[in-house]
């Protein structure tokens, strides 16, 4: 067990025992990853903020089912991805009803190279990712947005490590197809 895993196992044990500071430390450590993964799944930082926070609540309530000694991040990110997937359904119904007023902490900073990378804007890229199915979105979210290793991604996806690469390859191909369908004239850049 690595030092980091050992430390996290200790934090989980303390959190199970009711130590809120311990769980708070885990939340703080993985909040950015959680919001990034949720943004990739939901396509919106506002929805991502809600989904990430709800996921942390659900993870807390599921601490008893966490396997001692296992790495925390893949377990957490899988819960985040599932919660983000669920929140997509409800947010799609809500989004036309009211302007969201609680995007308080999460932002997408402007890019210095907006539109220059691969010839797509942030909005176009998020929309294209959002149109993928959940399996494709998840592997892209884990690998690019949370920068998880193949081993971590395999744990989060509950698949063999060797499967991650092929799954990511297929997801990227479908993402390119989505972008090409959006902007056929600029397809050559991708």
């Amino acid at each position: 067990m690595s030092d980091e895993t050992h430390e996290e196992t200790t934090l989980v044990e303390r959190a199970r025992g009711g130590d809120d500071d311990a769980y708070g430390a885990l939340v703080k450590r993985y909040s950015r990853d959680a919001v990034r993964v949720a943004t990739a799944i939901t396509g919106s930082v506002g929805d991502a903020e809600d989904a990430a926070q709800t996921a942390f609540v659900k993870a807390y309530l599921a601490l008893d089912r966490f396997r001692a000694g296992a790495p925390v991040r893949p377990w957490l990110m899988r819960i985040v991805a599932n919660e983000a997937k669920n929140s997509r359904r409800s947010s799609q119904r809500r989004e036309r009803l009211a302007e969201r007023s609680h995007e308080r902490y999460c932002v997408i900073a402007p890019s210095a190279e907006e539109g220059a990378i691969a010839g797509v804007t942030t909005t176009e890229l998020l929309r294209a990712v959002a149109r993928l199915d959940h399996r494709d979105r998840s592997v892209i979210a884990f690998r690019f947005f949370a920068e998880m290793s193949e081993a971590e991604t395999a744990l989060a996806l509950d698949c063999a490590t060797g499967t991650v690469k092929s799954r990511l390859s297929r997801a990227m191909a479908r993402l390119r197809a989505e972008l090409d369908a959006d902007l056929p004239a600029a397809g050559g850049a991708r």
Binding site: V27, Q53, Y60, C106, I108, I117, L126, V129, F145
Partner: protein
């Protein structure tokens, strides 16, 4: 940690986008999340309790509960056995003491028996460290103003001063507070409550309460309270007594404090009025009322 060395433009674009998704204030986000975690935990506990009762023979459960209540009531009637029964039952937060019935500045606002059928004699008092003080000496319906706001135990001014040595009193036209409370969440929290009256409208959620002034030894950083603002609440930064503070209005809101130990404590008050929150000299202050921002700021000058 970077696990990719993007070589194709689309991978670069994804990596760039991911790096720009950020949290503006991770500490505040964490604190807000922990507030939701605690709520979720409390809700789950309530559901489990309900589930246990529902899954059992409800009649048997009620019969046993009634029997326990009768026994406890009988034993509590004997002063010396109160402490013992509290220990025996392991009731968290329950402290039973004798004497020192909290005084209040307003007739009819003394501590009262709440849901207990306990009817002690003499000056014995049963109090909860997290709830209102209860006493058999007062009639059931003589509720202290603000009792429903879960501000803690009702106390005398002397106890309030002992709780928070730096306590400031409001020397205003509203007179002395109609009720005073102290709480351990956050540690050292003192709340002064005034009844609603002409020129001091009640809150939609607590119509009898016109003004609440709270003080507690805080970290001095009041920005954390922003984390629990409900959608629809608005917070504007203001300067109060030369310090940064916030004026909050709009939807009902609750506040999570950072106490003197730097622990996050969620406020249990559900209030629907306007709030002025600021920290000065190691004490965080909060004025809740339906007063305007200017009127609330004017009250600050009357804190002595």
């Amino acid at each position: 940690m970077t696990v990719h060395s993007p070589i194709d433009p689309l991978e670069s674009a994804l990596a760039d986008l991911a790096s720009r998704v950020d949290i503006t204030d991770v500490d505040a986000f964490t604190a807000a999340t922990m507030v939701k975690v605690r709520r979720g935990r409390d809700d789950a506990r309530r559901r489990r309790t309900f589930s246990v009762v529902r899954g059992s023979n409800a009649r048997q459960v009620l019969a046993v509960a009634a029997a326990i209540l009768l026994v406890v009531t009988a034993v509590l009637a004997v002063p010396r056995s109160r402490d013992a029964i509290a220990d025996l039952l392991g009731i968290d937060g329950l402290r039973i003491r004798s004497g020192d019935v909290p005084a209040t500045s307003s007739p009819g606002s003394s501590a009262v028996t709440s849901s207990s059928t306990f009817s002690p004699t003499g000056s014995s008092t049963v109090s909860s460290t997290t709830g209102p003080t209860v006493s058999g000496a007062a009639p059931f319906d003589a509720a202290a103003v603000g009792r429903d706001l879960a501000l803690g135990s009702e106390v005398s001014l002397a106890t309030a001063r002992a709780t928070l040595p730096a306590l400031r009193e409001l020397d205003s036209a509203y007179g002395p507070p109609d009720a005073m409370y102290r709480s351990d969440r956050p540690a050292g929290l003192v709340s002064f409550v005034w009844r609603a009256r002409q020129g001091l409208a009640g809150s939609p959620t607590a119509p009898t309460v016109g003004l609440v002034v709270q003080q507690y030894p805080g970290s001095g950083d009041v920005s954390y309270f922003l984390k629990t603002l409900s959608p629809g609440s608005r917070a504007r930064e203001v300067t109060v007594e030369g310090k940064k503070g916030y004026w909050v209005d709009g939807a009902p809101h609750s506040i999570a404090y950072v106490d003197a130990r730097n622990a996050f404590v969620e406020d249990t008050v559900r209030w629907a009025s306007n709030a002025l929150v600021w920290a000065a000299n190691g004490v965080t202050h909060r004025i809740e009322s339906s007063l305007t921002q200017d009127e609330a700021v004017a009250l600050v000058a009357l804190l002595k």
